[in-house]
């Protein structure tokens, strides 16, 4: 089939191209990436499914408004490198977003052909294009403008901080990124596992930034090692961007939560990803012995899926997801839920934990749960789960992982009281500029929105970069030139 001659009817007749993946039985024994990526042939076939709408509504579905129709046309034409350039006009981390965006709730949700057929696999295509560019060695380091003499501090090296750094360094500013941990990348490194996002990809993005001149200082906890005021007053920074994420794990507040064997998803995933505990004792940090044990993860988001699939890979006999509502309400990406099921994860839905039970060494032995049913819709229109009387039962467990979300780390608030925060401790900003209540201090990503998505964090970093640049240099000084 040919891009030039194919009719819309023919396009619609092409089925959505499946993403090749490692066999489920095989992949639960390793930490390698599950999805293997499209071949050029699959990518072109999938790209042909796009009917090139006059009014491409998919673009509005993408938080950073990637020119989706245009890049997909280039893929159909076989111009993969051109497509990569096109995407990068709007998204600086396509290899990452193509893998982790909740496409079904964003670009693919509004794709017109999704009404009758399956939507175009925009995410898979984005991933293919970015991988193609990287794997064929065609990633170009963008040009950097002459030095402006302005110095900007970026706090946190997650997607918000990295995208802000990327835009600002290209405009000729001196950029220093401060990161609390010993490794850069934020949740991309310590949260999302290798089997979903190979760390090599994140490292290459970081290398690109280093080549453009961004300097990175790990092991600096802003608020403790140095305060924002000191950065501005003593170290001469002209502006500061706060991208510290939402890193304070919530617990459920039920009895027994402090038993040994009950841990947060952040702890479990940090041990395995950041500290490489799967490689113990080659790496010194141990992880809970999952082999042949019963493990439950409480929650229904991406973090919960990552934790439960990690437990499975560490050899868990039973790996359960325990969730209060039904599958339809689960916030996780559909693909992750699907993959988890294929890997043998057991979903215990409409189930509410009421207490953890332990032995006299205060070691977890099980959880007491109530079964729920969906009641009347609440204010938000969602049917609220209500407990079924007398349905209590005990599920034997060796490890419980709590994955019900994160609050904001209070450190910045405590040490910079003139930055306004909400009741939930998130930083308050003007959404057009990401400016905080403190002069020349900006913020974006999870610290502003609460736990959200990579693409939103990235978009916020870019909005802030634009505003910082304009503020420092006067009205839109060359920002739109590239």
């Amino acid at each position: 089939m040919n891009e030039k001659t194919i009719s819309n009817k023919e396009r619609l007749a092409i089925p959505r191209q499946k993403m090749p993946a490692q066999d489920p039985n095989e992949r639960v024994t390793n930490f390698r990436e599950v999805n293997l990526g499209y071949t050029p042939e699959l990518a072109r076939m999938e790209a042909l499914r796009c009917i090139q709408c006059k009014d491409p509504v998919c673009i509005a579905g993408c938080p950073v408004n990637i020119k989706i129709d245009q890049f997909i046309k280039m893929v159909a034409d076989g111009d993969f490198l051109g497509a990569a350039k096109k995407i990068k006009e709007d998204n600086v981390l396509p290899a990452i977003c193509g893998r982790v965006c909740p496409q079904e709730d964003q670009c693919e949700k509004v794709c017109v052909i999704g009404k009758k057929h399956e939507p175009v696999a925009i995410g898979h295509l984005e991933r293919f294009v970015a991988d193609y560019e990287r794997q064929t060695g065609h990633v170009e380091i963008p040009e950097v403008k002459p030095p402006t003499g302005k110095k900007i501090a970026i706090i946190g090296s997650g997607p918000a901080g990295l995208s802000c750094a990327n835009d600002l360094v290209r405009l000729g500013h001196e950029i220093v990124v401060f990161e609390a941990l010993h490794e850069l990348g934020g949740v991309l490194m310590y949260g999302i596992p290798e089997f979903r996002l190979p760390k090599e990809i994140v490292r290459q993005e970081l290398d690109g930034l280093k080549q453009m001149g961004v300097s990175f200082q790990t092991n600096v906890v802003v608020g403790r090692s140095v305060t924002i005021d000191e950065l501005i007053e003593e170290e001469g920074f002209n502006a500061v961007f706060i991208g510290v994420g939402a890193g304070l794990p919530w617990f459920m507040g039920i009895p027994g939560e402090n038993l040994a064997g009950v841990l947060s998803a952040n702890e479990f995933l940090t041990r395995v990803n950041l500290m490489k505990a799967y490689d113990f004792p080659e790496s010194d940090t141990p992880v809970f012995q999952c082999k042949n044990r019963n493990i439950a993860v409480f929650g229904g988001g991406n973090t919960a899926m990552d934790a439960v699939r990690t437990a499975k890979r560490l050899g868990a006999e039973h790996a359960y997801i325990i969730y209060r509502r039904s599958e339809a309400e689960m916030p996780a990406r559909h693909e992750e839920i699907h993959h988890a099921k294929e890997e043998g994860v057991e979903f215990l839905l409409l189930m509410n934990p009421i207490a953890f039970i332990g032995n006299d060494q205060q070691q977890l032995t099980g959880v007491r749960c109530l079964r729920m049913e969906l009641g009347e819709p609440d204010d938000s229109g969602r049917r609220r789960p209500v407990p079924i009387e007398g349905s209590e039962f005990l599920l034997p467990l060796d490890m419980a992982v709590i994955s019900i979300g994160n609050g904001s780390n209070p450190l910045i608030k405590q040490t910079t009281p003139d930055i306004e925060v909400s009741k939930r401790d998130t930083v308050v900003v003007d959404i057009n500029t990401m400016a905080t209540s403190k002069n020349m201090v900006y913020a974006g990503g999870d610290i502003v929105t609460g736990g959200a998505t990579v693409i939103l964090a990235m978009g916020a970093g870019r909005t802030a970069a634009k505003a910082i640049h304009e503020k420092l240099m006067g009205e839109s000084h060359g920002f739109d030139e590239w």
Binding site: H182, P249, N258, T270, D279, D284, P286, N409
Partner: protein
């Protein structure tokens, strides 16, 4: 990489290490700690900042070889370096002029208590120190402690030096002598801290302990360091490490600290084995 400026043994298995860390040296306050990673594959280990020299840009750690990470660190010499050091972490000790303050250190806990004892002295307290060790060879910082104390006592379990007995017996003696005691700080093994809390509880003496749960990030991100205080969950790395001794659930702390014992043993055995092979080779 962070360079070690000096490293000397204070007692068998306890080493005093001075490391270049200018930002930390400038900011640290009594009661705060750092997380270190000896090598690229290393664990993140919490260690109290025993002292600092802001001019020179160095901090001092006093480290007891307990398992793989601390023993690997203790093999380092001046001129060597370690991969990572981050801090100062934790909430600084609450310091004021309480009146008469007793600082109790058990084993390497003496080193952890030292900076707080200095701060208590500087705030105008009458400072009494009680430092316990199993035997004479394990007594650390004797002279430093004496220098900040109005009264300094040493206790040994085997009676080889100082008072024969436990730190709690010495503490009880001081209380029984009828003198006014306003504040007690106790740092050491969990059973010791628990015992001190029980001694002071009936007299309602304000007592503070520095807790040592297993930590990973040390910045409040993982919740691995959570302890039960006054029946509430606290993160020791941000809310602590110092807490009101009379409200701490010590059993919960020691039970939680045991979770990774089999793995820690494995890691240490592998390390000892490697050391032996290197010695032979």
């Amino acid at each position: 990489m962070y360079t070690i400026v000096s490293a000397i043994f204070l007692a068998e298995n306890i080493k005093k290490i001075e490391i270049e860390a200018p930002r930390i040296a400038k900011k640290r306050k009594a009661g705060q700690f750092v997380m270190i990673r000896v090598s690229e594959t290393g664990e993140r280990v919490p260690l109290t900042i025993a002292d600092a020299d802001p001019e020179k840009g160095t901090i001092t750690l006093i480290v007891q070889g307990m398992g793989k990470s601390t023993r690997e660190l203790n093999q380092k010499k001046a001129g060597d370096s370690i991969s990572d050091i981050v801090g100062p972490l934790g909430t600084p000790s609450h310091i004021e002029n309480f009146g008469t303050a007793i600082s109790i250190g058990g084993g390497v806990g003496t080193a952890i208590a030292y900076p707080t004892a200095v701060a208590l002295k500087e705030a105008g307290n009458y400072v009494i120190t009680i430092n316990g060790a199993r035997s004479k060879e394990l007594v650390v910082l004797e002279h430093e402690m004496q220098a900040v104390s109005d009264e300094a006592y040493i206790t040994t379990d085997d009676g080889s030096y100082g008072f024969h007995g436990f730190v709690t017996q010495k503490l009880q003696e001081l209380i029984d002598s009828g003198r006014r005691i306003d504040y007690v700080l106790a740092i050491g093994p969990i059973p010791m801290m628990k015992a001190v809390a029980e001694v002071t509880r009936p007299y309602n003496i304000k007592t503070v302990v520095s807790l040592n749960p297993i930590m990973i990030d040390g910045t409040g991100m993982c919740g691995g360091c959570r302890v039960t205080v006054d029946n509430q969950i606290k993160f020791a790395c941000v809310d602590g490490p110092e807490f009101d001794a009379h409200l701490v659930d010590f059993k919960n702390l020691s039970d939680r600290n045991r979770v990774y014992l089999p793995e820690e043993k494995k890691s240490e055995e592998a390390f000892t084995h490697k050391c032996r092979i290197e010695k032979q080779g």
